[in-house]
């Protein structure tokens, strides 16, 4: 196990700079998720840690020792990629044993290690099977077991569960988290899925445009996002963004609605000036007029998710989503008043990009 440090880490491919001089320090035994949309630099960062990509500038250190010039296979890094290719002609046992055999371990040690990891990963009954007989979930567990069996310094996971169904995703999440609790490796998990990042990690490193936007615990990135990108990328359903105008000590205007501000936000608006982005999570908007901060809108659609409803309302040009108790609905084009919890309003500098979908960037 190791502490992983990056100093001014840069990755360039030709003229394209994928990672712009980032710094981070991941503690021994910590679980960090690198979260961001495609092209944000998360995979390049992980591949540099693994040694699969050279470092253009800066340094990567394992336990304080630079590893820039150490080859991937000598870094003792385990990886599990989404395509967990198992060797088809040999059994699960031999698949798991493979890295130890290549390392020249003796049979008794191999057997002990394989059986120990298989037991923890609930693979013992499958050890005699060949990969073709396994379900995809089982095959994935074998892939993970093979990665873990040689006691790596750091365990890198690259979106291993993004393609699974809801139930399987929960299972695998539990499973990865329990591996971390059982084995205690330093783990780095790369994903575009904010829910997985929040659910699994001790800290989440949110990346965009080759830079770290925030590196903090899940509650922090959710409740105190460092900027509008983080606010927009973290949270489900996604946060609602509005352009605001006429911002001053007395309030601001959102889509024609005048909104008064709490004291902390008055200080914020002094920094930001009259225009910018206002953001509010769907959980902090209600149907009804019971708050001094109100928005007028027209109903679009109600999704009944059984344990709660999700309601979409058009406020001016913005389609707002909000969470409501089961049974509460809006009709299409119905005039509705929304109440916003003023303590949870977030204000950011104007930024065109954060409102777009990452697919459209």
């Amino acid at each position: 196990m190791a502490r992983i440090t990056a100093n001014k880490l840069v990755k360039r491919y030709g003229n394209f700079q994928a990672v712009h001089g980032i710094d981070f320090d991941i503690a021994d035994g910590e679980f960090v998720a690198i979260l961001g949309p495609s092209g944000c630099g998360k995979s390049s960062t992980m591949r540099m840690i693994a040694g699969l990509e050279s470092v253009t500038e800066g340094q990567i250190l394992f336990d304080g020792k630079p590893v820039n010039d150490i080859r991937a296979r000598d870094r003792n890094v385990a990886m599990s990629f989404e395509n967990y290719a198992l060797y088809a002609p040999i059994t699960v046992y031999e698949n798991i044993a493979f890295p130890l055999r290549s390392a020249g371990k003796d049979q008794a040690e191999i057997d002990r290690a394989v059986r120990a990891v298989a037991e923890k990963m609930e693979l013992t009954p499958l050890l005699g099977l060949k990969p073709g007989r396994l379900s995809s979930g089982q095959a994935q567990r074998v892939g993970l077991a093979r990665a873990l069996v040689r006691q790596p310094a750091v365990f890198l996971l690259d979106e291993p569960i993004s393609h699974l169904d809801t139930r399987q995703r929960y299972r695998m999440r539990r499973f990865i988290k329990s591996i971390h609790q059982e084995f205690g490796h330093t783990m780095i998990y790369v994903t575009h899925d904010q829910e997985e990042a929040l659910a699994l990690a001790d800290r989440v490193m949110v990346m965009s445009d080759g830079a770290i936007q925030q590196l903090a615990t899940p509650p922090e990135v959710y409740s105190r996002p460092a900027n509008a990108f983080v606010a927009g990328f973290v949270g489900e359903p996604p946060i609602n963004f509005f352009d605001f105008t006429d911002g001053d000590e007395n309030g601001l205007t959102i889509e024609g609605n005048r909104v008064s501000l709490t004291d902390p936000l008055r200080a914020r608006i002094r920094e930001l000036g009259p225009v910018g982005l206002a953001a509010i999570r769907p959980h902090f908007i209600r149907l009804g007029a019971d708050s001094p901060v109100q928005l007028q809108g027209r109903g679009f659609i109600t999704e009944e998710l059984q344990d709660h409803n999700e309601i979409f309302v058009d406020v001016g040009s913005v389609r707002v989503s909000l969470i409501a108790p089961p049974g509460m609905k809006v009709a299409r084009n119905e005039t509705v008043t929304l109440s916003v919890d003023p303590d949870h309003l977030l204000l950011f500098p104007a930024d065109v990009k954060v409102k777009a979908h990452s697919d459209d960037l």
Partner: protein, 364 residues
Amino acid sequence: MYALVDVHKRYGLRTVALRRLNLEIRSGEFFVLYGPAGAGKSTILNLLAGLTKPTTGDVRRDGQSIAHLPPERRDAAMAFENYALYSHLSVAENLAFPLRAAGLPKAEIETRVNRIAGVLGIPHVLQRRPGFLSGGQRQRVALGRAIIRPADIYLLDEPIGHLDAKLRHRMRAELKALAVEMKATIVFTTTSSKEALALADRIGILNSGRLEQVGTPAELYNAPANTFVASFIGDPPMSFLSVTARPEDAVAALYTDDGQRIGTAPASANGMAGLQVGIRSNAIELVEPGTAGALAGRVGVVEHLGHSNIAVISTGKDELQVSTEAEVRLRPGENVGLRIDPAKLHLFSGGAAFADAAPARNVA
């Protein structure tokens, strides 16, 4: 109305995709096929489209067999997860293609292309060729090309599965609104519980080529026919405790495997083997350990999901998922009490919903 009647579908000798499957798709309904990868969802779409034929059994439209009608003689519009677009045509031309083929006037085509591009959030890429689009944009064009023309039935195979979370969320609402407006008959496949619940008039839960249950989202959520359905509908999924029933007055008292009393069921549960209680994560309240009437639990994994947390709590040999407010701090290894709302328990025997437990299959 479309129907699959006793459909058995085999690929080659060994792979059975569908087993004696009976399914009705009603006119104007949004029907979601939901199940794990490989359950047979796409096979059903291919049968309805005429891209494949049943090995035995029949495919019917309004009572008439269409099993042997080729795709071009059916009126089905399809969108696949793996979008095939014409690479030499612009997005606008790709979208217009089915309308041109149907011989619509130019002005009408233009109106429809602009409308659908607006719904899908792609007006700014209409003049681009597919090669210059992101994956999410291509998937939306493919979806647009399927839904742009009037069709008797729309077959949408995970059409928003490749979009990023923000877009998926938005497209879900747009698609539902559009479906309501068009009064279209839609069969939509997904591997997401949330998507199934949000979109469907009715859901069919598919597992290894069999339909486990067909019903409205509320029916499947409140009265799952078996543990498979129960564990598949809802996010997070339902958790289960193995229980034993012992006679108590005129009812059966339910005990966990380590002897904690959890609730009661009708007396007919007494003596039954393989009893399980299903509990959703929001039906459990965390209380001080040792509180009277509460189960004893021990905290395992805790997930911080932003607005709420999900804690995995073991009790006896089983594990329960419990949703809590984000502010609740729980440490792995900590002891807690679990107060379970008895009205929200689901009882299963041998994996099937316990038949005698009226009303709504709840135990009291």
